[in-house]
Amino acid sequence: MKIAIPLALTALLAALAWAGTEYLGLQVLFGIVVPYVAVACFVIGFVFRLVNWGRSAVPFRIPTTCGQQKSLPWIKQNKIENPSSFAGVVGRMLLEVLVFRSLFRNTKTEKRGDKLGVGSAKWLWLGALVFHWSFLLIIVRHLRFFLDPVPAFLAGIDGADAFLQVGLPLLYITDLTIVAALTFLFIRRVVVPRVRYLSLPNDFFPLFLIIGVVLAGVAMRYVFRIDLVGVKEMTMGLVTLHPAIVDGVGAIFYVHLFLASALIAYFPFSKLMHAGGIVLSPTRNAANDSRMVRHVNPWNPDVKVHTYAEYEDEYKDKMAKAGLPLDAE
């Protein structure tokens, strides 16, 4: 069920866009209204979530230290994994965001008879890294539909991505890698019993949405070979706020656009917000310097304590007998 429902939902969304534009003539809805609403949802939702997290206090500095602290001058500090300065924190965050440092540590525990064995397990890291970087490059590549004239560096990225010079239109490497990575991530979620057990329907839904967007995109380029000039005319219309429908771009384009719209509209309300959340993560973005620099808790409560005077009052006879000095003498 946790796979079937999100899969059906994704298929339904795709079918809606197909039928709506192919048979019902709802091009304006799917080509103009929905994309604008989705972008608005994304921007407002994303900002709202960040602000909402940001409004919660950070009462303590709780970095997870993954290396030697700064202590005596002759002991080598691990300045990235246990940062004590802002620069160190920036380095740590960059490693997390760009190359998924923590995931790279991943291992796998197995039980063989009476023993536990720990083995290397870098596949998740590799799959995640390939997926995220491919996705980023594909988004950057798509900017050519939203900029006119297309800047030289975008053309450069485009050329580099197609450097295999295979097929017509030229095959993008990122199309191969993202399909491979998504396939791996999906299969892993289904096949690894532990991961299937802990997965929720809302883990499969965004995965299916992204797979849907990618497959529709791939189909547009390599199978249907849709009218790119017409597409660019429409996308430029959207970004210049003079939206218009161009006839003949084909239903598959609307499927791609609608699934992509669904994805970005869903983004702020889902786990996909990890993209924004990681930067705020208190175990990663704080320096381990709270013995050097005072950190203030904005809601530090006044509490009742058991004072020394009360303690001495309760134990003064016993203390005197044990030869301990007393304040009250």
Binding site: I62, C66, N78, L198, L200, G277, Y315
Partner: protein, 552 residues
């Protein structure tokens, strides 16, 4: 105690196979040996915590206070405003599963609700149901569920099967820390008067008497007297460490376990030999006689209340700075909480070692130095004489305690000391030490007697690593810098790796420390015969090697 647990082969008779029903539809089952007794009404009330009442985890009806549901939901709302960590960790998990097999309790029980991600989902599912739009609308379809009494029971069972060791957070791509989630879960349970007696009892002791084990001032003094008599027998020297002395330069705070029972007391003897040999102007306190803080395993306010006495006592006694003993969670708190709770410590000075002149800049705000930092600095500057051959009967490995490793990064200092005072040191497997260290299985208040099966399971991955170095190098000694380790490891080692000695690092220092004008030492700090010195035939080699360490 440990041998009442089911036999070893039965304990390991489990698999990682997963149940047919998903976790949300698998009710919690309270298995004897896996949970602690509930906190008694009077223990909870002794420190003014809310809703103490008569109940037992084994009962069907927990007699939850009226309006308990609102209490919990309001509590969650409040905690989300107070802790960005809580809100963020409720939202950003993608359930990639990287944490799943990193938890020692999962590794050694196979219980899927002990995978950190699922343990967190126990709370997240309630968060989604009441605090997110999608959860309110779609319920179970988005992993949301109603808050029921069964959920509360499940929280109790599993949030007290987490030692807040933070190992999962090392592997999480977003740094989600199950310790933080467990702390929130326990804080919510405390609103309903639900805690374990093993935690609530020490909290009450610590608040009223100054330490977890409930030692009154005269008992502390007589315990110390016994230890000093032993030291006199071992060294021929008379030691009279001062307590509650005004005008000392340094206030020395140790975990009370070191004043109470073996092998902690041996560690304490090591501290005193060192500090006395240096002629330091230091004092201890019967009021601030606890560096540890079981309040941290209940609620933030309680932890702050127990911690307050450390700075208060330093101020009253007029010391210049503070030195802290070997304790794990004490040092998480000193490093990440103490100054924020009860600072600023502007009545103290930046610590400077009176022996070496080293200024501990890394403690310039809290003004508190870890004793392994202090001792490593002494050894580096050759300010003390040590004879590592006195530890030659020990083949040592070192266990990083969770908190000093992952909430501080105190990794090299203890290793430097051990390498100076011992000749035989071997590391355990790389994936079980430093930031990846495995928990003793008894931290965060779980070192009770009635949950012994849980402790033996949770400690198994660590014990297996000890067993590997025993088999490979003949390791017979497990060194550590944590009072909970010293209390918990003896039972764990008896069970899994019998014959392994558990020792604090400063016990090893005490053994090796060459005292001014001392004759030949024949006993170690446990009053056991030291191995005989080599005969003159090999004296050259021995003294040549020794000179390396003894100089200065």
């Amino acid at each position: 105690m440990a041998n009442q647990v089911i036999p070893e082969n039965e304990l390991l008779d489990f698999t990682y196979d997963l149940p047919k029903t998903d976790w949300m539809h698998t009710p919690v089952e309270f298995k004897p040996g896996m949970y602690c007794h509930g906190a008694k009404e009077k223990t909870v009330e002794a420190v003014g915590m809310p809703n103490g009442h008569a109940w037992s985890p084994a009962d069907e009806d927990w007699h939850l206070p009226e309006g308990w549901k609102e209490t919990v939901l309001n509590g969650m709302q409040s905690l989300m405003g107070k802790y960005r960590s809580f809100k963020l960790f409720m939202d950003v998990c993608v359930r990639c599963g990287a944490c799943a097999d990193k938890c020692h309790f999962y590794m050694a029980s196979g219980d899927p609700k002990n995978m950190p991600v699922v343990r967190a989902e126990l709370l997240r599912s309630v968060y989604r149901r009441y605090f997110t739009l999608s959860g309110k609308m779609f319920g179970e379809l988005v992993g949301a569920r109603d808050l029921t009494e069964d959920v509360i029971k499940e929280w109790y069972y599993y949030f007290f099967q987490c030692t807040e060791c933070r190992r999962c957070s090392v592997f999480c791509p977003y740094g989600i820390d199950q310790a933080e989630i467990t702390m929130m879960g326990r804080e919510l349970l405390n609103l309903l008067g639900l805690n374990t007696e093993w935690i609530a009892g020490p909290v009450a002791n610590c608040y009223n008497k100054g330490n977890h084990v409930g030692l009154e001032p005269q008992t502390i003094m007589s315990n110390v007297e016994f230890m000093m008599e032993d030291l006199e027998e071992i060294t021929g020297k008379t030691y009279r460490p001062s307590f509650n002395r005004k005008g000392a330069e340094i206030l020395f705070v140790v975990p009370s376990g070191d004043l109470y029972a073996e092998p902690g007391t041996h560690t304490f003897m090591g501290y005193i030999m060192l500090l006395e040999e240096l002629g330091l102007d230091y004092t201890l306190s019967t009021y601030a006689s606890e560096g540890g803080n079981f309040g941290f395993f209940t609620a933030n306010d309680m932890a702050k209340r127990l911690n307050a006495k450390m700075y208060a006592e330093a101020k009253r006694l007029g010391v210049k700075w503070m030195l802290g003993g070997e304790c794990g969670h004490m040092w998480r708190l000193v490093n990440q909480y103490m100054d924020t709770w009860n600072g600023p410590a502007d009545f103290l000075e930046v610590p400077v070692s009176p022996v070496t002149g080293t200024r501990f800049e890394n403690a310039s705000a809290t003004k508190m130095v870890h004793i392994t930092e202090f001792t490593a600095d002494l050894l580096y500057h050759d300010k003390i004489k040590v004879d590592p051959s006195r530890n030659d009967h020990l083949v040592v490995t070192y266990h990083d305690s969770c908190n000093t490793a992952r909430a501080m990064g105190l990794l090299e200092e203890p290793r430097y000391i051990i390498n100076k005072v011992c000749n035989n040191f071997h590391e355990m497997a790389e994936e079980t030490i430093r930031e990846k260290t495995l928990c003793c299985g008894s931290g965060a208040g779980l070192n009770a007697g009635e949950n012994m099966e849980l402790r033996m399971r949770g400690g198994f991955p660590r014990a297996q690593a000890v067993r590997q170095v025993r088999d490979a190098y003949g390791v017979n000694t497990l060194a550590n810098i944590c009072a909970i380790d010293r209390a918990a490891f003896p039972a764990l080692m008896d069970y899994w790796v019998p014959g392994t000695r558990v020792t604090g690092v400063h016990e090893l220092v005490g053994n090796a420390l060459v005292l001014e004008g001392e004759g030949e030492r024949t006993l170690d700090l446990r009053l056991q015969e030291l191995p005989r010195k080599p005969k003159p035939a090999s004296a050259d080699a021995a003294s040549g090697e020794g000179a390396d360490h003894v100089q200065g």
